[in-house]
């Protein structure tokens, strides 16, 4: 029966002390049980919080044989000790960890919205959900009353723009109270594909609208809907600047005021995040030949000027409203399009507020599919969000299918009549609606690029080598939106990333390709050691990466290591010490991350992956995979071959392509060796026993596991 209460749990909300509530809320949906678990000092010491807690709980919950849709799989949502401070920009993030349907390995996402802070102030450092319900449910956590209920949600809509608004209305006592609600939800797309994502809501007081941020990558929404969760709702009233009970608030305030002032003075001269958000990157990437065009074949396009931030700024983004996704974020990158009238599909004619559009989305759904239409971007962005679909994976799938179609590898018989030519926005949107309905070619394509490739191979007898070269996935996850062909370091940044090719581990293209600051293998390996580890830290704490290097102090260029943004690293040391009362150094900050980073690598190993062979990219990530690509930048590639000492006089294009390929593949292998060595891994990409020991993650089961891979 809809609305029926299936389980209730009453608790005394723990008081947050120095950033921790000290407890985790555990829910088992198979058994309909709710209980609390202690957050131990050892957990805090080794895993810190956020992604660290998520990986630790998941490690203990699953075996090597666990599949994403087994009841043992979990979804863990956790902030981290710094999460929820209101003073420092970007401090409201939630880490989401689960076994991915795309990779079979742990997936982590770092998502905005109010959920993680409100969860913590409700008394919970983490929410751990295991089991599978036999009917649709809503989990409601009331942090003021100290009550958790699981309700039957059979009659509720699944799609986020309907559900998040409805639940915000339902659980808020008044208009004023809506800001105290955050809803985690997904949508129909997540039910019928493997690329489902999670939306995390917050109430935008000035727009009077429910807004959503996305835990996009790797199918977390698919797991969520497989567990039959329609929504998890948290309600907590009473957030102040002291809700974390920090040990030394002055440290936090001083860092915060420094950054607010920097943003006030410099953002307009730097990335204009407050004005256009990450969309500013469209024009930058296009200029540097880094914007994925037509399934990563090319890096720029003459029509890209139709989808730049300038266009969105002038015609679509609503200005002069605060666009932050947690209190105190003066960087405010979360742009929105208000009163957008939906043009297609089941919600045609509705006027909606769309959280659009970020760089990754614009690049993926538009440029990568050869579509250069801003209104299509908003339409696709709206539907991906409400259906619970990852825009990056969606854009990759469509781009890959379009290339296969244009090359004659697939035809209308396979696509169910869809004319999947580059630039066909109508076909892309129809495919999107099919994914949500679980029908036709959409159902097949929604399984992700890797599975789609297998399907095409089975149906068509196409050349498997060509299809691998042009299917932009590694470990089963689709590649995010930067062309890495001319940056060896970025190729490694993508290919070695723990969860799959997402740029949040390392973005080194400018340092490597443009600035030429890391010329040797050792330099690149050092960068691929430092940055992934440093960047992991944000997701342990409940922090956003953007305020680290999307705004830099005026004198940053004069510092010893400008790419590390030393002043901001010091801010993070101050924040951690200010909240927890500990006294870590920046070296200890890195150690916190290095532990979790290596633990995640070992977790991949536990799931039967995590070795060298799983770090191999499609050739298109390394260089021109087809004649068309070589031809389009022939001058560049010819010049490179000559400089490398190849005799290319009179050589056919195919021969030159083979030379370039052999060279680049050998460079990539050398990079792997150098990076693995720097990280303390063996040649097979497995952390050595010494590394595990040094990091203090040499638990018996870890040692037993990695010992098998030491030679």
């Amino acid at each position: 029966m809809a609305g029926k209460i299936l389980a209730t749990y009453e608790y005394t909300p723990a008081k947050v002390e120095k950033g921790y509530a000290g407890k985790t809320l555990y829910i088992n949906l198979s058994e309909m049980t709710i209980k609390e678990k202690p957050v131990t000092e050892k957990m805090k010491e080794i895993f810190v919080g956020g992604r660290g807690f998520g990986l630790w709980y998941l490690w203990n919950a699953v075996s090597s044989d666990t599949k994403w849709n087994d009841p043992e799989n979990e979804i863990i949502i956790a902030g981290g000790p710094i999460c929820g401070i209101t003073q420092y920009p970007g401090s409201g993030k939630a880490a989401v960890v689960t076994l991915s349907p795309l990779t079979g390995c742990p997936m982590d996402n770092n998502v905005g919205g109010y959920f993680a802070p409100l969860l913590k102030f409700s008394g919970w450092d983490a929410l751990e959900i295991q089991g599978k319900s036999d009917r649709d449910v809503i989990v409601f956590i009331d942090g003021n009353r100290g009550k958790v209920v699981i309700e039957d949600a059979s009659d509720e809509p699944a799609d986020t723009h309907l559900l998040a608004e409805k639940l915000t209305e339902r659980y808020a006592d008044s208009e004023e109270d809506k800001r105290n609600i955050s809803v985690v939800s997904s949508g129909k797309g997540a039910e019928n594909t493997l690329i489902g994502m999670l939306n995390v809501s917050f109430y935008d007081v000035k727009r009077r609208a429910v807004r959503v941020k996305q835990a996009g990558r790797g199918g977390s929404g698919t797991v969520f809907r497989d567990k039959k969760i329609k929504a998890v709702v948290v309600k907590y009233k009473g957030v102040t600047g002291d809700s974390n009970n920090p040990a030394d608030k002055e440290k936090i305030i001083n860092a915060a005021l420094r950054l607010h002032k920097e943003i006030f003075e410099l953002d307009k001269l730097q990335n204009r995040m407050r004005e256009v958000g990450t969309a500013n990157l469209v024009e930058v990437m296009n200029d540097y030949d880094l914007l994925p065009v037509m399934n990563f074949q090319y890096g720029s396009h003459p029509d890209a000027d139709k989808i730049t931030s300038k266009v969105f700024r002038e015609k679509y983004f609503t200005q002069n409203v605060p666009d932050n996704c947690w209190y105190g974020c003066s960087l405010s990158c979360a742009k929105a399009v208000d009163n957008y009238e939906v043009k297609t599909g089941p919600y045609k004619g509705q006027k909606v507020c769309v959280d659009a559009a970020e760089y990754e989305t614009i690049a993926a759904v538009a440029a990568n599919c050869g579509i250069f239409d801003p209104e299509y971007v908003i339409e696709a962005n709206f539907y991906c969000d409400t259906y619970g679909l990852d825009t990056i994976s969606f854009g990759n799938i469509v781009g890959f299918a379009m290339e296969c179609y244009e090359r004659g590898i697939i035809n209308k018989e396979i696509t169910g009549g869809l004319e999947l030519k580059f630039g066909n926005a109508d076909a892309a949107l129809e495919l999107l609606h099919q994914m949500a309905r679980g029908e036709g070619f959409g159902k097949i394509a929604g399984q992700g690029v890797k599975n789609l490739r297998e399907y095409i191979l089975e149906k068509t007898g196409a050349d498997p080598k060509l299809l691998r070269d042009i299917s932009m996935e590694i470990k089963g996850l689709e590649v995010s939106m930067y062309v890495s062909k001319e940056s060896l370091a970025q190729q490694g940044g993508y290919a070695f990333a723990n969860k799959g090719p997402q740029h949040d581990e390392a973005w080194l293209i400018f340092m490597d390709m443009v600035n030429k600051q890391i010329p040797t293998f050792e330099d690149k390996a050092e960068a691929l050691h430092y940055f992934p580890i440093f960047r992991t830290w944000f997701s342990l704490q409940g922090l956003c990466k953007l305020p680290w290097n999307d705004i830099v102090p005026a004198d940053n260029a004069m510092t010893d290591e400008p790419h590390k943004i030393p002043a901001h690293v010091q801010n993070y040391v101050d924040l951690f010490n200010g909240v927890t009362g500990k006294n870590i150094t920046k070296e200890e900050l890195l150690l916190q991350s290095e532990r979790v980073f290596n633990f995640q690598r070992i977790f991949n190993l536990k799931m039967g992956k995590g070795t060298r062979e799983y770090d191999m990219p499609p050739f298109r990530l390394l260089g021109p995979a087809t004649k068309e690509e070589y031809e389009s930048r022939a001058e560049r590639y010819d010049k490179q071959l000559k400089e490398l000492g190849y005799d290319i006089e009179g050589k056919a294009k195919e021969e030159k392509m083979t030379m370039l390929r052999q060279y680049r593949e050998s460079q990539f292998e050398k990079l792997m060796d150098a990076v693995y060595k720097r990280r303390g891994w063996n040649k097979n990409g497995v952390p050595t026993l010494e590394t595990a020991k040094k990091l203090g993650i040499d638990f018996p089961d870890v040692v037993e596991l990695i010992a098998k891979y030491q030679v």
Partner: protein, 66 residues
């Protein structure tokens, strides 16, 4: 000939920092220009004259979703 980020670029008379940035298509807003080891202030990009043989580093910072 001048060097820009370790690559040769033809020198032309009267060339300014702004010209170099335009030729190289360096449009990223977060850059620092260093000519022969000296940082050039943003407001002199259009006036600072390049000499033949200058070594120029245009350091790009990361940004955005990356």
């Amino acid at each position: 000939m001048i060097k820009v980020n370790n690559e040769d670029l033809d020198f032309t008379d009267g060339m300014t920092v702004e010209d170099v940035l335009r030729i190289k298509k360096y449009s990223h807003p977060m850059i620092t220009v260093i000519v022969n080891g000296k940082v050039i202030p943003v407001d002199s990009y259009s006036t600072h004259k390049i000499k033949d043989g200058d070594v120029i580093n245009v350091i790009h910072f990361m940004s955005g979703g990356c």
